[in-house]
């Protein structure tokens, strides 16, 4: 196992995991306000398709990223309308949103399958310039990767150090209390969902524009579902989400390392490890974790809301 290979796993985990991290951060915000978004996969796909399409049309990848964020935010507003205004069941609404995202993204993206688009530039990590190109190119990250941890910290700050965040978390704990304090929990949830959607769009923009640099149907490969689980895994805490996302994508990268080193373990089985690990962690710390959950989510999960 060479140094290059080990560094390679880390680099791959970062490249692949950034989109997962952004999506998880978005879902943290949403769930903290008491809304679970099972349709995150669909939201991410629409973000990716819209962002990629915008990049091809305008030739400007930064504009594509912005469009992706807006698209994600708008998709989440649909969920908001159903859940907040119409009082519909969150899980069913989320799944409906997922189907909607599958179809809408395919429609938007169809003319752009196989098209080449401009990508955002990659900047070498300071201090790696003197390394041989093969290693240096491992640590040549694009802007969205460099922004990932700062954004996670920003989300933390928003949730725990601002009045908006306080109101948001209060909405997740008890809608009645927020009403009583004179604020509108519906408006707060809308805002939370829009922010969550924008973060999801940011993640999918990275996937389509910066990493895979293309569009295909279903290209998010389940990241939306993984994010929903990672939120619980990280205890609804934005900074811990970083570890969750890294761990998860690191496990996937590790599988590829083993394959290309000629180790005869089935890649399918290795690919299941991250999921099983997540379930294990949840099962072991399940009771304790429930205390961390926003109280409003509990009613949701017992099927009565």
């Amino acid at each position: 196992m060479t140094w290059l290979a080990v560094m390679g796993v880390l680099s791959s985990a970062i490249f692949s995991g950034v989109s997962l991290l952004y999506a998880t951060l978005g879902e943290v915000v949403g769930q903290r306000s008491g809304v679970v978004n099972l349709g995150l996969e669909g939201v991410m796909l629409v973000g990716a398709a819209a962002g990629f399409a915008a990049t091809v049309i305008t030739g400007n990848p930064s504009l594509g990223i912005v469009v992706a964020m807006l698209a994600g935010g708008l998709m989440n507003l649909v969920l908001g309308y159903l859940v907040i205004n119409r009082g519909a069941n969150q899980l069913a609404s989320g799944l409906a949103l997922m189907f909607f995202g599958f179809g809408l993204s395919a429609l938007i993206g169809k003319p752009y399958v196989g098209t080449r688009a401009a990508s955002i530039p990659r900047i070498a990590l300071p201090g790696t310039a003197y390394l041989p190109q093969r290693i240096a190119s491992l640590f040549s990250f694009d802007l969205l990767i460099y922004l990932a941890v700062p954004v996670a910290l920003l989300v933390w700050w928003l949730l725990y150090r601002t009045r908006w965040g306080l109101a948001l978390r209060a909405t997740g704990e008890s809608v009645a209390a927020v009403y009583a304090s004179g604020r509108d929990p519906g408006a707060i949830r809308y805002q939370a969902l829009f922010v969550a959607g924008m973060l999801a769009g940011l993640g999918s923009a990275h996937l389509a524009i910066a990493y895979a640099m293309s569009w295909t149907e279903h290209m998010t490969g389940g990241r939306g579902f993984i994010a929903v689980a990672l939120v619980i895994f990280s205890g609804w805490h934005p900074v811990r989400a970083i570890y969750g996302a890294l761990l998860f994508s690191g496990a996937v990268a590790f599988q590829l390392l083993l394959q290309s080193a000629g180790v005869p373990v089935s890649p399918f089985l290795l690919d299941t490890i991250p999921f099983l690990l997540t379930i294990l962690v949840l099962a072991v710390s399940g009771g304790g974790r429930r205390h961390l959950a926003p109280a409003g989510l509990g009613r949701l999960y017992s099927g009565r809301e």
């Binding site: 680099s11 791959s12 196989g114 098209t115 093969r134 190119s137 990268a253 290309s260 080193a261």
Partner: protein, 358 residues
């Protein structure tokens, strides 16, 4: 309930309108189905372009296409739909369309089915393909000459017969110019998972590989990823691939089956069609070598050209024995040649290939 009633009336009107709509006048209808999207700059695009060439030989033809038909059950339904729309010639271009097409050929003896890459034959069923292994051998020669680390990388979708054949041909070609060369094979287990392809390419490069090639539907992501890491790349499936790796592109091979496919269509229209096992290669225009990249030295280009000429003349045969597999067993005896039929069911890798053939 008046709202609902209005909606119901609308529905009834629509149904009535549809039922009474007249069909346009019948023209020659040709159907084509693809396993993936036709703009993938890869296999499906090459197949699509070949089918589009029919417009030059059959004026007034109507071509109906269905993309993303990867599995057999969907293929059956799609072909039935096409026949209902009047198709009399169907091109089934994905590997696993073969048996559904064969079954339907028995059900509809008046419709002609052409399958790409298979081996079955019937009174109204035939197949056509290029000769990719020859191209792979040539590309292996180029890769072997360009590689400085002596390690080549192959991103493959699935362990299957044709993939193993391509890997072997590539490796044998490289071995002919550098006996110590190794080829590492890694699978994405998907014909078009772009993120996985990027990951896999990176993983191979991290193992010290400096020339990358692939057998997935679209070479685009593998090429852009290799380009971003400064690794050489060789394309496959479609000549449109070069745009993705402007600097580190070596060359590639692609299907240029347009001539043969349009000829087949013409024979159907003329009524002279006969089921033949059509294989076309570099000698008669069915496959082509892509232009070389800007950083390929002239000596390499000459060597590849020499190899091409020797293959066309028969002086070099890619799979001439003795060929030994990874565990040392002799798979092709000295003096023997691996047959075309056997190529689709190869389940071994030649010695010097790292990876699992199953």
């Amino acid at each position: 309930m008046s709202k609902g009633r209005c909606v119901l009336v609308l529905m009834a009107l629509l149904t009535a309108a549809s039922a009474f709509g007249a069909d346009p006048a019948p023209t020659r209808v040709v159907g084509a189905l693809y396993g993936g999207p036709i703009t993938d700059a890869g296999y499906n695009q090459a197949m699509h372009e070949a089918v589009m060439a029919i417009k030059t030989t059959v004026p007034g033809v109507k071509i109906i296409e269905a993309e993303n038909v990867p599995d057999e059950a969907g293929a059956t339904r799609t072909m039935e739909n096409m026949i209902q729309q009047g198709a009399t010639l169907i091109f089934a271009t994905a590997f696993n369309h073969q048996y559904p097409a064969l079954a339907l050929s028995k059900k509809y003896p008046k419709v002609i089915f052409e399958h790409a890459g298979g081996w079955e034959m019937g009174p109204n069923f035939a197949n056509y393909f290029g000769k990719p292994p020859d191209g792979w051998y040539m590309m292996g020669v180029a890769a072997g000459l360009m590689s400085k680390t002596g390690k080549l990388g192959f991103v493959a979708a699935f362990p299957m017969g044709w993939t193993c054949t391509f890997v072997n041909a590539f490796h044998l070609g490289a071995q002919s110019v550098n006996p110590a060369i190794t080829t590492v094979v890694a699978y994405t287990f998907n014909w078009g998972d772009r993120a996985k392809e990027a990951d896999t390419t990176n993983a191979l490069i991290n193992q010290g590989v400096d020339v990358i090639t692939m057998h997935v539907d679209s070479p685009a992501t593998v090429l852009t990823t290799a380009e971003s890491r400064g690794a050489w790349s060789i394309g496959y499936q479609s000549l449109a691939a070069q745009q993705f790796a402007p600097k580190y592109w070596i060359s590639g091979t692609g299907f240029t089956l347009g001539g043969k496919v349009s000829w087949l269509a013409k024979t159907v229209v003329d009524g002279t069609w006969k089921p033949i096992f059509l294989r076309t290669g570099f000698d008669d225009g069915g496959m082509a070598v892509a232009p070389f990249g800007p950083n390929v030295p002239q000596s390499v280009k000459d060597r590849v050209q020499q190899t091409r000429d020797k293959i066309v003349s028969g002086a070099i045969v890619a799979f001439k024995g003795p060929i030994v597999d990874q565990s040392g067993t002799v798979r092709v005896a000295a003096g023997a040649v691996l047959g075309d039929n056997a190529m689709a069911s190869v389940d071994w890798f030649a010695k010097g290939v790292i990876g699992s053939p199953k």
